[in-house]
């Protein structure tokens, strides 16, 4: 023991060479401060991002939700036989000679009657009262009458669109003072509307026609819907999916797994990366030149739109597919080749299934990008074209002129009437829902194909 005490080691806890673990030295403090600072920057950045997202979503929802409801008027109209079918023999040819203008008097009479029935006192005459209704009403009544000739002579209750000013008043967008210089409507009309709402003849309800309907002329925002352009977008997406996915995946597999690495393939690689960064409007003018002017395909057709968007999407798909093929461990390829699989078998039996989640994600991202693209559509005539009818059948869906959702939204945003501004926001909600659905599908597919190794 005495020998031990002679050694320089003290018996108590050792005072080590000048520094204690409890006291932080300068360097450590500085390092910790830098770390804390960096974390704070990160949190700040995330918060700013989240704040913008919240502002965006709130403003989209607040501005867009009203577009999904519409003001309707319950209007009993007497289908006067003397005016609609003077001969009385219900001959369709004779009845169709009565133009939409011929229906106006009936509607005006019905409005006057509606005032009397609900005890509303007004000195307005029929034509003035008719300003409360959409100018689509005569056509609606006429279509109904021609389809149901046996109803002539009866009183039929129609559910007709109110004019966009009345609708705006119901949604709080239009105030009485706004109407002072408005030729379309007077403040007196709004008094009547108030009374009709109390009587239950006017109500604001969910408007399926906004989701399913076609675009309308500039003066009838209340009638416009996004449905037909949704069909246009749908057919374009089918073209993109059917062309871009197989072409993109085949090209990436070839480049990644089979092609020799030489200057030529390097050049292709660089060009694919460059193509991904080319402004989409360039693809639009390429499509105009190649598919429409040279190829003779019809203008404004979803087929052409789809082809252009395919060109635009291909680089995205190829890049993401190649990345996911690269991410498959080479040991899997070795294993397959080692048991005597050919290169093709190794790729298709082992590498491709493992790369599938990545390929699908890339494809859906590419599709989502294509779905929201407007600029290339400008040049092939899909913006500004107002399709009023649904395509008749599948071939027509690809070849008949149509628009696309983002083009439709752009078109609405351009129009002067504030009612269209509201519809543009509503259209964006529909577009976002579409995108969200696609992303959810991507996530589900990813989960399903994902395998551990």
């Amino acid at each position: 023991m005495t020998d031990v005490t002679n050694t320089p080691v003290p018996s108590g806890p050792e005072k080590s060479r000048g520094s204690s673990l409890y006291a932080l030295d300068k360097r450590t403090k500085r390092r910790n401060a830098a770390e804390a600072r960096f974390k704070a920057y990160g949190i700040a950045a995330v918060c700013v991002g989240l704040a913008f997202l919240v502002i965006l979503l709130v403003s989209i929802v607040r501005n867009g939700i009203p577009a999904f409801t519409q003001t309707f008027v319950e209007l009993p109209i007497y289908l006067n036989e003397e005016k609609l079918d003077p001969d009385g023999n219900r001959d369709p040819a004779a009845m169709s000679k009565v133009s939409t203008f011929g229906y106006n008097p009936l509607i005006e009479d019905a409005l006057v009657q509606l005032m009397a029935d609900n005890g509303i006192e007004t000195d307005m005459d029929g034509p003035t009262l008719r300003k409360m209704l959409s100018s689509s009403v005569p056509a609606q009544v006429r279509d109904y009458t021609l389809a149901n000739p046996d109803q002539v002579g009866e009183t039929v209750t129609f559910r007709v669109l109110a004019s966009s000013r009345v609708d705006g008043y119901m949604k709080g967008r239009v105030q009485r003072e706004d109407l002072e210089r408005d030729k379309n409507l007077d403040a007196a009309h709004l008094d009547i509307v108030d009374q009709l709402v109390d009587a239950g003849a006017v109500e604001r309800t969910f408007n399926w026609a906004f989701i399913t309907g076609a675009d309308a002329s500039e003066s009838r925002p209340e009638q416009a819907g996004i449905g037909v352009s949704m069909i246009g977008s749908f057919f374009m997406m089918i073209v993109v999916l059917v062309l871009a996915l197989p072409i993109g995946v085949a090209a990436s597999i070839y480049l990644e797994e089979f092609a020799a690495k030489n200057r030529f393939t390097d050049l292709i690689e660089v060009n694919i990366s460059n193509l991904a960064a080319v402004p989409s409007i360039v693809f639009g003018i390429l499509g105009l030149a190649v598919f429409i002017q040279f190829g003779g395909l019809p203008q404004s057709a979803p087929l052409v739109g789809g082809l252009v968007l395919t060109l635009m999407t291909l680089p995205t798909i190829i890049i993401s597919t190649r990345a996911s093929l690269k991410a498959v461990p080479p040991s899997i390829r070795d294993a397959a080749l080692g048991v005597g699989a050919s290169k093709t078998q190794a790729v298709f039996h082992h590498v491709l299934p493992l790369a599938m989640p990545g390929i699908l994600t890339g494809t859906i991202i590419g599709l989502a990008q294509a779905l929201g693209e407007t600029a290339p559509l400008l040049l092939i005539g899909m913006v500004g074209y107002i399709a009023t009818n649904y395509p008749e059948g599948i071939v027509d869906g690809f070849l008949a002129p149509n628009s696309a959702m983002p083009a439709q939204i752009y078109e609405w945003a351009k129009r002067a009437d504030p009612a269209y501004y509201e519809r543009a926001w509503g259209g964006i909600i529909v577009l976002l829902l579409f995108l969200m659905t696609m992303n959810i599908i991507a996530i589900i597919l990813r989960r399903r194909f994902e395998r551990r190794w």
Binding site: A260, K261, P329, S331, I332, R333, D334, A335, A336, L337, G338, V339, G340, A341, S342, Q345, H349, H350, L354, R451, R452, W453
Partner: protein, 268 residues
């Protein structure tokens, strides 16, 4: 090359009866790098041959020449003659796919397919059409797993993923997968380097059993392992085959001073 026990002339004229693989004057280039220089070697049937040598000496490269796995590397170029059963495997008529069914390979890191144990084994026989029916295939799977000395551990969970096994089990599964295609030669590239001592022991026992049916060529970093499992040993250094002979002789009485320095730990 004068340390070689046999000169190239007397081998080509009079091949030993049970020689499986003969390599003559083999050169391998990676781009401009000369990775393997003038290698001549005769590998016997039903024997375990070990390739030893320091890292980067070319032993794995040479092993991968034997089933043409180097074909997958663009910049790799092989010259000289490698014959299996007197057939030149680099002949234009030879399809590497057929060759690899005859020369199985086990890799350094266990690399089971991310599929079930059953499918791991059945994949090779399936693509080569070795099984006529489901029952045939079941039999092949069982036989291969038994040969891989792993049947008892996995027989109750053949449809569980192969990637869920432990490292040693995975490596034996890979060996079973390699023997499922009925190869004649089995190449093993450091099969135990990722395994713990117990798993290594199991795999070594397995290699010793496999010797009765196959010509096994094993690349290893561990000289003890080479001494334990092999009958013949080849020592590679800087791309040259320095010495090749009976394992006992290489480890007890090496002829070349470089071999002696390596096995006594002075270089490597």
């Amino acid at each position: 090359m004068n340390q070689m026990p046999m000169t190239s002339e007397n081998v080509t004229t009079m091949p030993t009866k049970n020689t499986k693989i003969t390599a003559r004057d083999v050169q391998v280039y990676y781009g401009d790098t000369h990775a393997i220089k003038d290698v001549d070697v005769d590998i016997e049937d039903r024997t375990v041959t070990a390739f030893i040598g320091p890292s980067g000496c070319g032993k794995s490269t040479f092993l991968r020449c034997l089933n043409r796995m180097n074909d997958t590397i663009d910049i790799c170029r092989v010259e000289g003659a490698i014959k299996i059963d007197n057939e030149d495997i680099y002949d234009k008529k030879v399809d590497p796919v057929q060759l690899r069914a005859k020369v199985g390979m086990v890799f350094q890191k266990p690399n089971p397919f991310p599929k079930s144990i059953y499918d791991n084994i059945a994949y090779g026989p399936r693509i080569h059409g070795l099984a006529k029916s489901k029952a045939d295939l079941d039999e092949i799977v069982e036989k291969s797993l038994r040969r891989g000395a792993i049947w008892d551990e996995v027989k109750d969970r053949l449809h569980a993923p192969g990637t869920g096994l432990s490292g040693g089990q995975q490596q034996r599964l890979c060996i079973a997968r390699a023997v499922a295609t009925e190869p004649e030669v089995l190449l093993m590239d450091e099969p135990c380097s990722a395994l713990d001592p117990i798993a290594t022991d199991q795999v070594e026992d397995l290699i010793d059993e496999l010797r009765s049916q196959y010509s096994v060529v094993i690349v290893t970093h561990s000289m003890q392992q080479a001494a334990r499992v092999s009958q013949k040993t080849a020592f590679f250094h800087l791309g040259n085959l320095v010495e090749y002979g009976e394992t006992d002789q290489i480890f007890t009485n090496p002829k070349d001073p470089r071999t002696e320095s390596y096995i006594s730990g002075r270089i490597g």
